[in-house]
């Protein structure tokens, strides 16, 4: 690789770095951190890690905000930075770490692979469609016996990258049903009677499991939990008009068309792609890092850890557990170029 020189191991002095943010990325970055801490221990080879990495699932909103204010070293986010955020702290970068996706889950016992599109979802979340046996849902799902049950929409109450992805998808599918001005990590959900706000992806899974007739958007890293909770997974309409489930193949197919288009700052929406076999709600998981750090050792450790994530951490042993897809080589190079900018 002709890329920039990046440290292959952390600095010699013991140091700690902190991460908070995206609950979608949390299971993966925790697994990375755990492995990384066991790889590099203080001499003599005792159990103490050379770099202590603390991780916290607080939602992408907190991740971005904390990275902006410098409260944490790494903010995790499913959403890229807005231009206003970039303007506040110009040295912030969003560095892609993996490719993720979001599933649409629902609690309708016995009904599998319900077909849904952005218009329907927007109409549910704006209260235009309130019952599961609505003709519009039936039209997409001929032959499925839908119950006369109230639709309970679940949304994230905390600032959430998942909310950003979900609102992006609804808007991309049907801008008249969900306006672009309401695409955000802190999007406003119209007051629909009974609608519930939840904290984090974990809260979404628990809330949906407890509420018959619910619909929720949940990161694929929680797929195991949603299956265990007996939630259905929707086939979601993509930009080519096909209905697809989020699988390794469809996520990879959906991302393929965006890889070459990814700009140097890695700010790109991969929502509602045109690939026929591609899943439409996919994204890069980002580390939000201030490239101007105050402490040289910390900067070196962040560089080393993030480089390890995109270089060594992209194996199936890490990604399969959370249903993420690895970054292609070209995007790894872009990420490395951004990582190399982190300094004191």
């Amino acid at each position: 690789m002709v890329g920039p020189a990046l440290p292959s191991s952390p600095a010699k002095a013991p140091e700690s770095i902190s991460e908070t943010g995206s609950t979608l990325l949390f299971p993966l970055i925790s697994a990375w951190a755990q492995k990384y801490q066991s790889l590099y221990t203080q001499p003599p080879a005792d159990k103490l890690p050379l770099v202590t990495i603390t991780t916290g699932p607080t939602g992408s909103g907190v991740g971005i905000a904390d990275a902006t204010t410098g409260t944490v070293d790494i903010g995790a986010s499913d959403a890229y930075l807005s231009s206003a955020e970039k303007a506040t702290v110009p040295t912030l970068e969003n560095i892609a770490l993996a490719i993720s996706a979001q599933e649409i889950s629902y609690n309708l016992p016995g009904i599998k692979n319900l077909k849904l599109d952005g218009t329907l979802l927007a109409e549910m979340y704006t209260g235009k469609i309130t019952s599961w046996n609505d003709p519009a849902i039936k039209a997409l799902n001929p032959g499925v016996s839908l119950p006369n049950m109230k639709i309970v929409t679940l949304h994230r109450a905390d600032g959430s990258g998942d909310t950003f992805l979900f609102t992006s998808y609804m808007d991309a599918q049907d801008p008249s049903a969900w306006p672009v001005t309401n695409v955000s990590t802190a999007a406003t959900f119209p007051a629909v009677p009974g609608a519930l706000g939840e904290q984090g992806n974990g809260g979404m899974v628990a809330g949906c499991a407890a509420t018959k007739g619910c619909i929720a958007y949940i990161g694929v890293s929680y797929e195991t939990q949603t299956e265990k909770a007996g939630l259905g997974q929707a086939e979601v309409k993509n930009g080519a008009g096909k209905f697809v489930l989020p699988t390794a193949a469809t996520i990879a197919a959906g991302a393929a068309g965006f890889i070459a288009k990814t700009p140097a700052n890695e700010t790109i929406s991969m929502i509602n792609g045109p690939a026929a076999a591609g899943y439409p709600i996919i994204n890069y998981e980002y580390a939000i890092v201030n490239t101007k750090q105050t402490n040289g050792t910390v900067a070196e450790d962040i560089r080393a850890f993030l480089h390890w994530d995109v270089a060594t951490g992209q194996t199936a042993s890490f990604l399969d557990a959370v249903n993420f897809q690895p970054l292609p080589a070209s995007v790894v190079q872009l990420s490395d170029a951004l990582i190399a900018k982190i300094g004191a």
């Binding site: 607080t58 939602g59 909103g61 907190v62 971005i64 905000a65 902006t68 204010t69 807005s82 231009s83 206003a84 955020e85 303007a87 506040t88 109230k150 309970v152 109450a157 905390d158 600032g159 672009v180 001005t181 309401n182 695409v183 955000s184 990590t185 802190a186 406003t188 959900f189 119209p190 007051a191 629909v192 009677p193 009974g194 609608a195 519930l196 706000g197 939840e198 904290q199 809330g207 407890a210 509420t211």
Partner: protein, 360 residues
Amino acid sequence: MTSSASMLKPAGGAGASPLPPRVSDWLRASLRDGSVIRWTGAAGALIPVAALVFILIILGVKAWPAIGYNGWGFFTGRVWSIGNLYGNPTSSGGVEHLPGAQFGALPSIIGTLGSSAIALVVAVPVSLGTALVIVERLPRGLSSIVGAFLELLAGLPSVVIGLWGGVTFGPFIARDVTPFIARNMPNVPVLNYFRGEVGNGQGMLTSGLVLALMVTPIIAATTRDLIRQVPILPREGAIALGMSEFETARKVTLPWVGGGVIGAVVLGLGRALGETMAVAMTCGAALGSVPTNIYGTMTTIAATVVQTVDGAFQDGTGFALRSLAELCLVLMVITLATNILARLLVRRVSGTALPVGRGL
């Protein structure tokens, strides 16, 4: 420490100049004439006043641009939206904000007042009963044990109550209690708010009941201390006149401490209005939602602030934070207004300002 430091210092001098008065001497002198006590006492007395004024001023300054931009619509609007986070900030009237920013506090205000009202409706009778039983019915040993539990309950962290309310209590009443009520309540005004969808246990009723649990010990413990101060003679007189125990409590004991009880209720109301964590965990966190029945999901001012503050930090213009400051200001005004109102009421009823005894 002080003396050794001052002994080292002049050693480098010529030795002719007299030693400066030692700090310890000065301290001893001021302790003796009481000026230390006077000054620390004065400072201590001023700090609470200064803190309240300071908080009000800071909130006011922070919220000022938001007050101008949001206008009266703040109290009638139902949408709480920080605007398009990915759009370019715009400016109206010199106030920079995100495009489409819109802040309406009506649902939060309704939720705050509604859940607190439910809490008081439930907590006041329970608290008065508890206080009367502790003072007048239970044997001394048992009464002190019950009283101790009451105080323990008052000290329970709100997050513990919130977790219980959200995970256990809410789903329980939504499954086993409220469907029955919702089905059988007659469809007449007021009572029809008890009909309809009961949801999954997060909402106004659950929040109100959880708040009731939190304010009951405050009202009960204060009322208990008040009732203990009612002289025995009037009560004995009432019983001698043939009044039942209930009549004695209603006609003699409670009126005797009436003003204090109102004060105790306001203490509880203050807690209910501002309670954040327990409500945030049980209200359903439905920003912008005005519940259509008593079970509906909703939000309160405090819950809105805690749920949206992280999103507000993402607003590069800072306007979302200013609007949250305005919301906090509204909560403070509501709380202060109820307190002042209660003080006036208490003074009119009994002449003493606030409940005596050990307010919690």
